[in-house]
Amino acid sequence: MIRLGYRLQYFVQTAWRGLRSSLLTSGVSVLTIAVALGLMGGFGLLVLNMQGLLDRFGEDLQVSVYLEADLSKERTQELDATLKSVEGVRHVEYISPEQALQHFLSVAGTHAGLIEGLDHNPLPASFVLTLAPEKRTKQDMAIVVESLQGLPGIEDLVYGADWIEGYTRAIGFVRWLAAGLGGVLVFATVMIVANTIRLAVYARRDEIEILSLVGASRIFVSVPFLLEGMLQGLLGGLLALAMLYAAFRLALPEIAHGLQLLVGLAAPSFLSSGDMLLLVACGAGLGCFGSLLALIGGYRH
């Protein structure tokens, strides 16, 4: 273990030297990794923000249960209890005709005149059901609504927002796209690093031979190459983060309007520090894996 520590300095030094000695190929490799990881991070960012929006607006996914006019107090309380017992219903709120009117007047604005001429409040009392988050899909909502249909005292049931259904599907699509593209990019990243390291191994084959002649183990010879690949991935990851952040800060205001349609009015958020770490770690891991592939294929010669 101590010896490993002693060697670490040598390994890092040698890996760094290797990276510098092939600046061009390493640079190209780092750049390509950065673009690949940047694209992956970009998609991650998009999914993240879309999901965030859904989580915020999903709260609005409610079922309104309009009651028959002049329903007795007892029947109303009975209904309240029944609704609360329905599976998937998390919260039940009673809205009296007066509250409904107030709400209507507050949002109706210029259209308030619609009911001004009436001498009594035309709005019915209602219950608003909030569903458990996992039940906020069209199917689950339909099931809940079906179980309520025909209950005595209920005049009408209104539920759902089609845009959320569509939006959920859009997120699913973006997620699949990201996964597919991510798979391709991961593969590409590994191949790029593998190729760069294979070249490095080839360029330094004399050095490898000499090291082996003075008693270097396979591991001693290989680790600097692994580190070199890892370093490329790490630098690529950092560069990707920088590019993402720059794009987020600079390009976002430009496309803000278009983006609003996609992710809504809420201010988009950047990757969390955990996600940033993950991205860079991904780069390092892929780089390491790529050079491992190169070494398995290339060491023998």
Binding site: I2, R3, L4, Y6, R7, Q9, Y10, R17, S21, E207, E209, I210, L211, S212, L213, V214, G215, A216, S217, R218, F220
Partner: protein, 226 residues
């Protein structure tokens, strides 16, 4: 320290580079290996650090038959066998000091010890002032001394040297030879392959003559001081 029993080696199917060689070299012994070109000197040395594998026979070094050794055990063997290659085999992209250090680093020595030993060794071969230079900026003789420093720095049990004085002027030849002889007086077993008959008589060490892959003569050491 080195024992060979009936060792044969052929690169190509029909011809032998070494044929039925048996010999016994003790600890701290200094042996010249000589013979005409193609006699098998380099091949014999290569077998001793497993750069080539024998086709027949046993080679016992440090109590192990290296002719049958697993590939994974070879690095450990090489850490106890210093080799000075005819073409030096220095790492051209590393400094003189790093070239010498690497023989210690492969053993996992602490950086502090690596620095101290490498410096000490370079001082012994008179290159302490060139330690930050790169091999290609050194003369042939200086490169050779770096190669010797690397071979000796970890105090190997065996030192192998192929034509160590091949392209050196006479003064330098003696200087280099003195380094090798010194190593043997410190207990390292030294094998030197050479063409130069002048050296053989000057030092009076044991001489093994190879001819067509066989040991033709094995002349024991004799006193030359008189």
């Amino acid at each position: 320290m080195i024992r060979m029993y009936g060792v044969s080696m052929s690169y190509l199917a029909s011809t032998y580079a070494l044929r039925d060689v048996s010999l016994d070299v003790g600890k701290g012994e200094f042996v010249f290996l000589t013979g005409s070109s193609g006699a098998g000197k380099t091949t014999l040395l290569k077998l001793l650090f497993a750069a080539e594998r024998s086709t027949e026979g046993q080679i016992i070094i440090r109590g192990r038959n290296i002719a049958r050794m697993r590939g994974a055990a070879i690095p450990e063997l090489r850490r106890h066998v210093g080799v000075v290659f005819q073409d030096f085999k220095l790492l051209n992209r590393r400094t003189v000091e790093e070239n010498v250090s690497v023989a210690l680093q492969v053993r996992g020595e602490a950086p502090r010890i690596v620095r101290a030993k490498a410096f000490q060794m370079l001082k012994q071969v008179g290159l302490q002032n060139r330690r930050h230079d790169y091999p290609l900026s050194l003369s042939g003789g200086e490169q050779q001394r770096v190669a010797i420093a690397r071979a000796l720095v970890n105090d190997p049990e065996i030192l192998l040297s192929d034509e160590p004085t091949g392209n050196l002027d006479p003064d330098l030849t003696l200087e280099i030879m003195d380094l090798l002889v010194q190593a043997s007086t410190r207990g390292t077993t030294v094998l030197v392959a050479t063409h130069e008959h002048g050296l053989l008589s000057r030092y009076g060490k044991r001489v093994i003559h190879l001819e067509h892959g066989r040991i033709a003569r094995d002349v024991p050491a004799h006193d030359v001081s008189t």
